[in-house]
């Protein structure tokens, strides 16, 4: 009787000790999780706080730099029946004063400013938001609305205007990012996928294969700034590409190859061996088996590898700063002076380094975060959808 009671007491003490330990452990775990989530919220919150105010339609749709052009506009004498204060009949536009600048507020459908040409006779249609700096011989600095209207309506026939299109937008960076993504994938995807196919389907196990795998694994771990250095030495200077999207894309391709190869290989490994056996058993060649059975089966995984790569390209900064430069322009060529192009990330770097405009940098950061989240959602969606298809 007594022994039994003692055993029962033992269990009670043991339980309360264990409970305490469990409680502390649980508490620590919850605390760690809370801290992690809190940090994430603080980071995103801070960036949003600084950057959200700067995000508006102008930010998302304009070029970066202000662009000033001299244009010729053929005025017509059609009188509109618009009696607004700022309406200029001969041009079919409405103007207004904003911050002491004369801004085009609206443009009629048949307005001749849509057919404006610059000094090289290239069409340069004026747009809403453009600032008129000079019309004819009248400088529009510190001018009143009435005086501006008079100057614009003065005389007949063509009028020469100096027009400034305000910048402050991220369009060049968005376009450049898309160019770089495209170029990089065109270079890296075929090479990476073929390499993965070789490694998984053709290569004989042995020392050579181990060395190749080791090399790929290590390539994946090299810091991206080293790729930037390499790209600068080899592509920008060595091949004389100067800061260009091609130099950037080549560099990123090299950087992404290990990831593409590894992810594709993982996908290829998941294709059941029995598919290969059945295909060969029917008299197919290895190439037919690969192209008709294995690659189609592996396609979802390859797609995910590509989307992951896109995510990394969007987020890459160090490798691009030293190969594609930080000039915000839409590149017109692949190499040379007109090929330098800043991406969202490299422009952020430039902003922090060269100006003190942390608000603008934060605005770009917000756009970047949204893009990255969108890409993650997309890749999850694709994975889930193809997983369903496979088993249905």
């Amino acid at each position: 009787m007594r022994a039994k009671a003692r055993r029962w007491e033992f269990t009670m003490i043991k339980n309360s000790n264990t409970k305490l330990k469990d409680g502390i452990a649980g508490g620590l775990i919850y605390l760690s999780a809370t801290i992690t989530v809190a940090i994430l919220i603080v980071i995103i919150g801070f960036v949003l706080y600084k950057g959200l105010p700067g995000i508006n339609l102008k930010f998302l749709t304009r070029m970066w730099d202000d662009v000033t052009t001299v244009v010729d506009v053929n005025r017509n004498n059609v009188t509109g029946n618009n009696t607004e204060a700022g309406y200029v009949e001969s041009l079919g536009i409405s103007i207004a004063l904003e911050d002491e600048a004369v801004v085009i507020k609206s443009i009629d459908n048949d307005s001749p400013v849509k057919d404006a040409v610059n000094v090289k006779k290239v069409p340069y249609a004026l747009k809403k938001g453009d600032v008129i700096g000079k019309a004819g011989s009248t400088n529009f600095k510190n001018i009143t609305l009435e005086e501006a209207k008079l100057a614009l309506n003065e005389g007949t026939g063509p009028i020469k205007m100096k027009v400034t299109r305000p910048g402050g937008g991220i369009v060049p960076m968005l376009v450049s990012t898309i160019y770089i993504i495209g170029l990089t994938l065109i270079i890296a995807a075929p090479i990476g996928i073929c390499a993965a196919i070789y490694l998984n389907e053709y290569a004989k196990p042995g020392k050579t294969l181990n060395i190749i795998r080791f090399a790929i694994q290590n390539l994946a771990g090299i810091p991206s700034i080293i790729y930037g250095l390499f790209g600068m030495l080899v592509f920008v200077q060595g091949f004389k590409m100067s800061y260009s999207i091609l130099a950037g894309s080549f560099t990123l391709s090299i950087m992404l190859l290990p990831t593409i190869i590894s992810t594709t290989e993982e996908t290829l490994k998941e294709v059941p061996r029995t598919y290969r056996e059945s295909s060969m058993g029917l008299g197919a060649t290895k190439l037919q088996t690969i192209s008709k059975i294995i690659i189609p089966s592996a396609l979802p995984g390859i797609l995910v590898a590509i989307i992951l790569s896109i995510g990394r390209i969007v987020g890459e900064s160090a490798a691009l700063i030293w190969t594609a430069g930080t000039i915000a322009q839409i590149p017109k060529t692949l190499v040379g002076s007109e090929a330098a192009a800043a991406t969202l990330t490299t422009k952020m770097y430039w902003l922090i380094k060269e100006t003190a405009d942390l608000e603008q940098a934060s605005s770009i950061a917000v756009v970047l975060i949204v893009l990255v989240i969108a890409l993650n959602i997309l890749s999850k969606f694709i994975t889930r959808r193809f997983l369903k298809k496979r088993t249905s």
Binding site: S279, G281, L282, G283
Partner: protein, 252 residues
């Protein structure tokens, strides 16, 4: 039924690296009959089956000596593996249709050998599925995924897939071991039907199955053929004691 030789196997030895999996196999395999290979796990019967359509070529480190001839032609030296495999088809143990529609599965073989016309493919698909005794069950869902049907049906689709390339020989590697008894019987009936037009060699660890459907049986043990002859004789009057022990279940 006169025994007409389809395959002639002479002094066949097979090594996986240093391990000898097949020892001095000598036998004739006959046309238009069902030959069963029986024996305990690891005795080499599947390995031997795979030498007949050169599937062992796909395995690293395999070495083969001796020769196998089909209709008098050496299948290793005088024939290429691709052609051989269009004449000798194989059905595997696990039903493994490709992740495509039933139609595309059966049409896969003809397509990779160059058949493009839809009308011809339609005909081949229908004929093969009928031969595999599964046409009625799937004719209305040819475009559905082959993975969406039961295991027994999948296996018959795999048989149809093999029949579509119009082989002369069908090798079956334990084709019913993953199936339920009813599907098993259906496939056994199928094999018995098919032997009218094809030579069938079936590996099975199910002795009763061998007894039910085969004309000739070969008993394998640790890589050697212990005994080979008419099924009736093997099961009712085995000459070798080891054969008798296996048949009566003393080991297995």
């Amino acid at each position: 039924m006169k025994d007409e030789t389809k395959f002639s196997v002479k002094d066949l030895n097979l090594f996986y690296g240093n391990f000898q999996a097949l020892k001095n196999i000598n036998m004739e395999l006959y046309k238009g009959q069902i030959t069963a290979f029986i024996g305990p796990s690891g005795c080499g019967k599947s390995t031997f089956l795979k030498t007949i359509n050169r599937m062992n070529d796909l395995v690293e480190g395999v070495k083969i000596t001796g020769n196998i001839t089909m209709d008098g032609v050496d299948i290793y030296k005088d024939m290429d593996a691709i052609t051989l495999r269009t004449r000798v088809g194989m059905v595997f143990q696990q039903p493994n249709p490709f992740p495509m529609s039933i139609y595309d599965n059966v049409a896969y073989g003809p397509r990779i050998h160059g058949v493009r016309k839809k009308s011809v493919l339609d005909e081949i698909v229908e004929k093969s599925l009928k031969q595999a005794a599964i046409w009625e069950e799937v004719k209305d869902k040819l475009k559905k995924s082959a993975l969406a049907v039961s295991g027994g049906q999948q296996q018959r689709i795999c048989i149809a897939r093999t029949l579509a390339i119009e082989p002369e020989v069908i090798l079956m590697d334990e084709p019913t071991s993953a199936l339920d008894p009813i599907s098993t019987l259906k496939i056994e009936d199928l094999a018995t039907e098919l032997k009218k037009d094809y030579t069938i060699i079936i590996v099975t660890h199910n002795m009763q199955q061998a007894g039910r459907i085969s004309d000739k049986t070969a008993f394998f043990l640790t890589g050697e053929v212990i005994e080979y002859g008419d099924t009736e004789q093997i099961f009712n009057n085995p000459r070798d004691k080891k054969t008798e022990d296996y048949i009566t279940g003393r080991f297995g």
